[in-house]
Symmetry: C2
Subunit: 629 residues, 2 copies
């Protein structure tokens, strides 16, 4: 294993920023049609090539007149002018306004020769003999927009670097511009590496350790959000020739090549060698956590950045180091919503001597202030992607972040919003349905026990607790339901399981739930009861159950293992057995209670949950074995 590369000389984050900034990602300007120009950035200054309007234009419905013919007219003493004709919008006038005459005119029409003002129709009356009575005087130019008064030919219309939004589209339209010179979008090639990666949608062979490629599409979406154009390349394995060919192809076709996807040191080694052989390696390894294995260099004249393999790490490094460079090249400013200021909700220790890009979740307190808490499930967890909202940069000099400390969060996307409510606790199918009725909730199914612990520590808005609670904490009950639990067995109950005794006394492969689960608590209580009955210690019964320590964290997982034939009995709910078409042996009924943080009961999201709880009995009771409390 001597070929494994160690990164000993880590670059400082500023060096990484500088190295990426030194690479030229700028694409050539291009021309797009007006209907595709929104969101693009003007490549050059646009001067008006014509006057807007291109003619003296009536800006009211009424009559075109020679202003001096109306002098002295008022309500008491109107002036009468002959009607010489009419001019409508979009038609060349075929009438001239001479002394003592007028012409009917529509808004937007060309002023007829001779006329220099418009009297609005409301201040006139037609007489029976076809003349017009004017009850007001006008000055020359009244209700007329002179040619070029809006935009004059030759005038600076829009500056270079202007972001094109609907209103700029409007001005471009007025100038007749239908081909817009815009800055090109940098093309970013994404090469994912690792023999184990499979594209989403393709078949997965889990036995061979295959997993879906998370980074390619995630980073591609990040590239497009930053104003670039993403191009996905086929997966490259660890083979040098293949990697070299794909990387050089990508470098040839793109302004920037990103490699991403592999957590394997050998794949990183191969890339490292390709860059060294065929390009220039500017730095390898940056003193940030995560991101040690980051590479920056050039390849075939183009720019190259290697991202770490774990999804959260890859997105973090991308958003921190690469997205700003793509935005710069595209001419797109950083969105105002890219960062959010908040206060640390907990104390967080840190003392690793390199910068930490700490994944965090966001939460609003009752006053609407933003609370920030670290999310650390290990970088390998893809669920961290949606449980964290962004990252906080913690400098190497910081030994801890105090509770209440002000921090700035760089969001994973400018479109990320803090959840309306943060719930923790039991994994429950009725709760899942209720959550569907809420706008942007976040629920972490950490189990009843862990949920209660977190509620006690004050972070979440609510905890959902199933079964008997070991300890009591201050909280406000928002409502709840009961659910029937027991043993999930195959559809026809081939082993004839009738209760707990069969599990203890028989030769059955069992799948348990983890110790945080309320189901597990009720299950252990039932075992205690049986132990009491039999006059033995519980551990005797536990030891007799094959698989008691085989625990899974999601409520359906034991049942799914039974359905897959990998277990005979699973701890679960009647509702789950029904839904998966399995058999069920009831052991009891337990309560599920939604308990709110007493400080957050006025929070909008909590009140919305309470409303949903009261209004959706039918949704709860439609689940087998569920009853509203």
């Amino acid at each position: 294993m001597s070929s494994r590369k160690e990164f000993r000389d880590l670059a400082e984050p500023e060096e990484a920023h500088a190295a990426i900034a030194s690479l030229d990602l700028s694409p050539a300007p291009e021309t797009v049609s007006l209907d595709e120009a929104r969101g693009r950035v003007l490549a050059e200054r646009l001067d008006a090539e014509l006057d807007v309007p291109g003619f003296d234009r009536a800006s009211m419905d009424g009559y075109a007149v020679r202003a001096k013919d109306t002098f002295g007219a008022d309500e008491a003493d109107p002036v009468t002018l002959e009607l010489a004709g009419a001019v409508h919008a979009g038609v060349e006038p075929d009438v001239e306004v001479t002394e003592g005459t007028c012409a009917e005119i529509s808004t937007g029409a060309v002023m007829p020769p001779g006329a220099d003002a418009v009297v609005m129709v409301e201040r006139t009356d037609e007489t029976d003999d076809g003349a017009v009575l004017f009850r007001t005087a006008v000055a020359p130019g009244d209700h007329v927009m002179l040619a070029g008064a809006d935009v004059a030919a030759g005038a600076r219309a829009l500056g270079p670097g202007t972001r094109i939004t609907p209103r700029e589209i409007g001005l471009l339209s007025a100038l007749g511009v239908d081909e817009v010179p815009v800055r090109g979008k940098p093309t970013v090639g994404i090469v994912s590496t690792g023999d184990e990666l499979v594209r989403p949608g393709d078949d997965l062979n889990s036995d061979a350790g295959q997993i879906y490629d998370v980074n390619s599409y995630t980073i591609a979406a990040g590239v497009e959000e930053a104003g670039g154009e993403a191009k996905l390349y086929p997966h490259a394995g660890d083979d040098y020739e293949e990697m070299e060919r794909i990387l050089l192809d990508a470098a040839d076709e793109c302004d920037l090549v990103l490699s991403s996807g592999s957590t394997s040191a050998s794949a990183v080694d191969v890339i490292y060698r390709v860059i060294e052989d065929r390009g220039e390696l500017l730095l390898h390894g940056v003193a940030v956590k995560p991101g040690k294995p980051m590479l920056v260099g050039s390849l075939g004249g183009g720019a190259y950045v290697g991202l770490p393999g774990y999804p959260v790490s890859a997105l973090t490094i991308f958003q921190t180091f690469v997205a700003p460079a793509i935005r710069r090249a595209a001419g797109v400013p950083e969105p105002q919503t890219a960062t959010v200021d908040g206060k640390m909700a907990v104390r967080e220790r840190y003392a690793e001597g390199r910068m930490r890009l700490m994944p965090v979740g966001l939460l609003e307190d009752e006053e609407g202030d933003t609370l920030v808490y670290p999310v650390d499930k290990g970088s390998g967890a893809t669920t961290s992607l949606v449980e964290a909202d962004g990252i906080v940069e913690v400098s190497p000099d910081t030994s801890y972040l105090a509770e209440g400390e002000d921090v700035t969060v760089r969001l994973f996307s400018p479109d990320v919003r803090p959840p309306s409510i943060l719930g923790v606790g039991e994994d429950d199918p009725a709760l899942s349905r209720l959550l569907d009725r809420l706008d942007n909730p976040r629920y972490l199914p950490v189990g009843s026990r862990e949920g209660l612990r977190r509620l006690r520590d004050g972070l979440p808005d609510v905890a959902v607790v199933a079964g008997p609670a070991e300890r009591d904490i201050e909280s406000v009950d928002l409502g709840g339901w009961t659910r029937e639990w027991g043993l999930v067995v195959p559809a026809d109950n081939p082993a004839g399981v009738s209760g707990l005794t069969d599990l203890v006394d028989g030769e059955l492969r069992f799948v348990n739930r983890d110790r945080n689960s309320g189901l597990r608590t009720s299950f252990e209580d039932a075992l205690d009861e049986l132990a009491d009955e039999r006059g033995v210690e519980r551990h005797r019964l536990v030891e007799a159950i094959d698989g008691f320590d085989l625990t899974v964290k999601a409520h359906e997982s034991p049942a799914r293992k039974v359905r897959a034939g990998r277990a005979d009995v699973g701890l679960g709910l009647r509702a789950t057995a029904s839904e998966l078409g399995l058999g069920f042996v009831p052991l009891g009924t337990q309560s599920v209670v939604v308990r709110a943080n007493p400080d957050r009961t006025d929070k909008q999201g909590v009140q919305a949950l309470e409303a949903v709880l009261t209004a959706n009995d039918d949704l709860i009771t439609s689940l087998d074995g569920f009853e509203s409390a």
Copy 2:
């Protein structure tokens, strides 16, 4: 003109919101591929259909072991295990770890049968005889991610209504989802009306009063920004049958039809009749300014809204009433950047008894606070589109907005940013080039005199003043240049113009600049001098000049009229004459000075302008007749 429709029963704005909300714009859900899902909204809850990871996965490079074989190992007393083989990522293990053995394993590889933990490579050494020395003990499960530990099959992965950003793309990838059920984008048909409208890019006949269609593309961009899909229909004239056919086609193909573009009452009348005959008119006319002519109804079972014709009015009514309905139908939340809070920079009177949607510009003061000022160039001006940033709703009960009053501005687009600097004053070609070097400047070429007046009132950051100033005001000079001015004549100077006397004494058609222009001031000073010389009053000379009162507002316009053969002489700059290939008769040189608001000299945009001024002498002097001061 009896057919002209008057809107007498104006609906309240809330009724208009309610009427639009009562229309069903919701499209059917659709399925998009993962790479097109960014920015879309999930139509339904997505539960995991598989475990992630799908197998027990090594989360470190190292050795897979039976944990109990390492018990007791430490630096001082390492444990040695036989190396039974190796497992790499993406490959099915072909080795079993039995008592006393271990297997080399890569991050991401499947745990081989028998092994229950991984020892990281850094805590091991290979021995010469192919065995491995372990210098640490591990517990079962160490450095192993169990199947389903990240996401369990059956678990709630993403809720309905979730906005899909890069991180959600990541979770969908991990779950292997490549077809994503999303809410449909409401299709919005845009029918523009008015015989005078021409599509940008097509030829324009100004003599016939044709103008480019501004609203269609502007509103289409607004529709897309709000999450809809815009579909442009051919222009409809005022003909009933044609209008009926186009509107019914659009209603058939779209979730919502908008008509827009015509300022002509007769076209509005025709639409009104079509809606009454073939659909249902819910309301006509809303008590807002602008927006009186707004229509809301249904047509062929679909929804219909008629927008006013003037571009700023159309965009204002669209953003206020229609965009929220499109966002609701698309499931897209209002962007956080859609509104901005600021303070009125000036007092604004208002007393019209209906709600006013007041177009405003934004400006940052030296402290970075947002100042808001009304922009009122008349709704017909398309330049208002880019001179205003958004609108302030002023209630009918408000008689005035005080200076310093807090207001909320709804931006014309969430991408609109306040300008980095607001300049006003002379229209000058060197200035145009300098502005190109600044990020997002706003410059209103209102002329030197008006510029000074506004600077005195305190709103703008800088005023650019050409020629002698009539009065002095407190300001800080940032720099400037001089420019040669005079009479622009045709290329070969056919009339042999040699100076001012020819203009006064000859039979020449002249084009002047407006009274706010610094060029005009210098020109009048020259006339004064000539009048003194001749011992006559100036008005005698003025009256002798044919076209003295024919004034235009942009600096190139007189020269362009000369080039077009519509005048013999124009007031202008040597630089303009050179650029347009015209002749030039010099009359003098005048200074152009950039004068900063004394309260804003520390503002970043002002300092950037000052830096650009000092650094770009060459850019100024490359213009004919320009010298840096």
